[in-house]
Symmetry: C2
Subunit: 408 residues, 2 copies
Amino acid sequence: MEHERSEKQKLPLQGVIVLDLTRATAGPLGAQMLGDLGATVIKVEIPPQRQRQMRGISSRESLYQRYSCGDFDIHFLALNRNKKSLTLDLSSERGKAVFHDLVKVSDVVYENFRPGSMKRLGLDYEALRRVNPKIICCSLTGYGYSGPLRDLPAFDLIIEATSGLLNATSSADPEGIPVFSGVAMADHIGGIWSVLAILAALFQREHTGEGQHLDIAMQDAALHFLSYKAVGSMNFETFDDISKKLLWGIFRAKDDYIVLAVHREPFWREFCRILGHEEWLQDPLFDTQMKRQKNRERLVSLFNEVLSEKKVDEWLQIFGTKVPATRLSSLKDALNHPQARSRNMVIEVDLDKETKVKLVGNPIKGSGIKGEVFNPPPRIGQDTAEILESLLSFSQEKIAELRDEGIM
Amino acid sequence: MEHERSEKQKLPLQGVIVLDLTRATAGPLGAQMLGDLGATVIKVEIPPQRQRQMRGISSRESLYQRYSCGDFDIHFLALNRNKKSLTLDLSSERGKAVFHDLVKVSDVVYENFRPGSMKRLGLDYEALRRVNPKIICCSLTGYGYSGPLRDLPAFDLIIEATSGLLNATSSADPEGIPVFSGVAMADHIGGIWSVLAILAALFQREHTGEGQHLDIAMQDAALHFLSYKAVGSMNFETFDDISKKLLWGIFRAKDDYIVLAVHREPFWREFCRILGHEEWLQDPLFDTQMKRQKNRERLVSLFNEVLSEKKVDEWLQIFGTKVPATRLSSLKDALNHPQARSRNMVIEVDLDKETKVKLVGNPIKGSGIKGEVFNPPPRIGQDTAEILESLLSFSQEKIAELRDEGIM
């Protein structure tokens, strides 16, 4: 039974075909997630293949060059596994016709052009639904298809600033220089929300039999990430985030920073006991949550005094599972940790016979998710002929003809 | 036709029933997202109802108290709309039996206890699949159900530090005091990834007819958010994030900061033209991407000199859609902006006859998503009787009996 099921469908999106027109960061990330979940993701690469030169840097002069592996840079490498590559000139009539043929047999068209671009190409949802009424078109943009800002260009940095994300990241020191997230946060948030929308629409289609146009804005998604802070600031004149006042944060051990969370009663008690300072539990300055918040500064200096006696590793050993604590990991340390390894969060793909590259795994782990595959990012157009043959039953002659015409 | 479809299924998850056992931040956020998408989310509140007192602060002494609206604090309010509330003592045999009855008619059980807790309650996936083989159980934890760290307690702050997210946020000034994201980033990332997993499993079940156990770790999800940075740091000894070197970032206008992204050739040209400094385009210090990166400091000071002549608003007016630019918005400004309003990203719910509260809307916009509803967070147990009657056909007598026994 188990076997039979796993034969039938090992990965959630097996059988789903996605036409991926996305460029830059957010869209390619989202499309990769769909591929990780088992979808057949066809990266439709429109000449010139600018999407392979990230951040506007032409490959010739890229600082990424020294990290490049063949025709990928790191950025591209991180966002384009589990995709097939097909080149197609969408500005030509024959190219459009091939795209229409692909839409007929596909489930999702995923793009992150500015609003209006797909319409100018004649490839907007209204046009594509006439080709395939079940098609789901997902447009991922900076500000969405509506509203006064819809036509503005947007990059991660812009959305971080305009959504308030940057404001939140900078809240530790409101007078200081504003701090960006450091990981293209708005791109990642937009990417993941668009995948969410696509999955919801695929599920909905199982019941309605119809496709739809999804209009996902990085800005909307970023606003949603601000949740309780947003609710506080919208409803109250003087809302101040409580989290700074709680008994958690960054403290000082002998050799390095240590992060502790003893804001909850049981952890607070355990912490005092382990530190050998049970007198704090009865101390009239600290014997309620409210008082510990009020006298946080005093407590923090007491903490640091005791914590400075041992190294982070020793403390983590001592705290075990009793007190939530950790060190400040570098990315390298986090990914080299046995936890990441045991969770298969570091995977390795072969770029070619000589080159192996490590990538971040898929966080979706499930008892019904079996036989995960991680294929390296495709070379430009490597799957063009195979896709046209297998999906559209194009003849070798027709494919050669299209190639000669420069459509692919 | 349009009408007929919208009658059949207006929202993607209509008809899906979710039993929500989550507490704190990440899980309630995820469950709320399922509710926003049309699922019937039943918040199963286990006595004592600690999940309504966020961050370990008892309501009596909560600093949130001054922001509280009835029995909600802001934090709870932001994460619990579109749910029904049912109280149930899961430690009692009769309570468990009622839960089993609910599992029989439900699609998803969603929880964020530490690994092992559900098993101790006799409510782990292996037990629940015997009750309903189609059930999807999603466990959202700090580190996941496997690996050496699985039993450690974790909060947002801990995961931010241990995953490298904190390292990334702090990368602007590696020598300075580390900077947290300021918005419970790891909670949000974990919440949204678990929803993604649930949607994928629901879609998969349409084809396999079977449920599964999903094992989602905040830590795994956070690692995935580090994508290209993670790939860079795993594969290269000396990887350095290029983004700091690009021609984007925070600059100074007359009255405030302004964020600009002129790292791409067309925007760079437009920018020089608008600023009246077309000579920069030919300047041998700046005439290629590489040189502009190399001489970034010189360029930044030139930029600031010109930008300081006008206010942010004036510049944004001048740049229009030609140059990606924005101001640093506060959360309030971002949510008050006509863009957020026109995208329905600010919604209002009635807590009672006198109290309206603003919440953040749903970023999933689709042509097939109609008649969105936003119900206020439920009062504790407000829907207990109705759920048992309508879903399980319990008699009034049986409900009264359970209530008398203290099961609900």
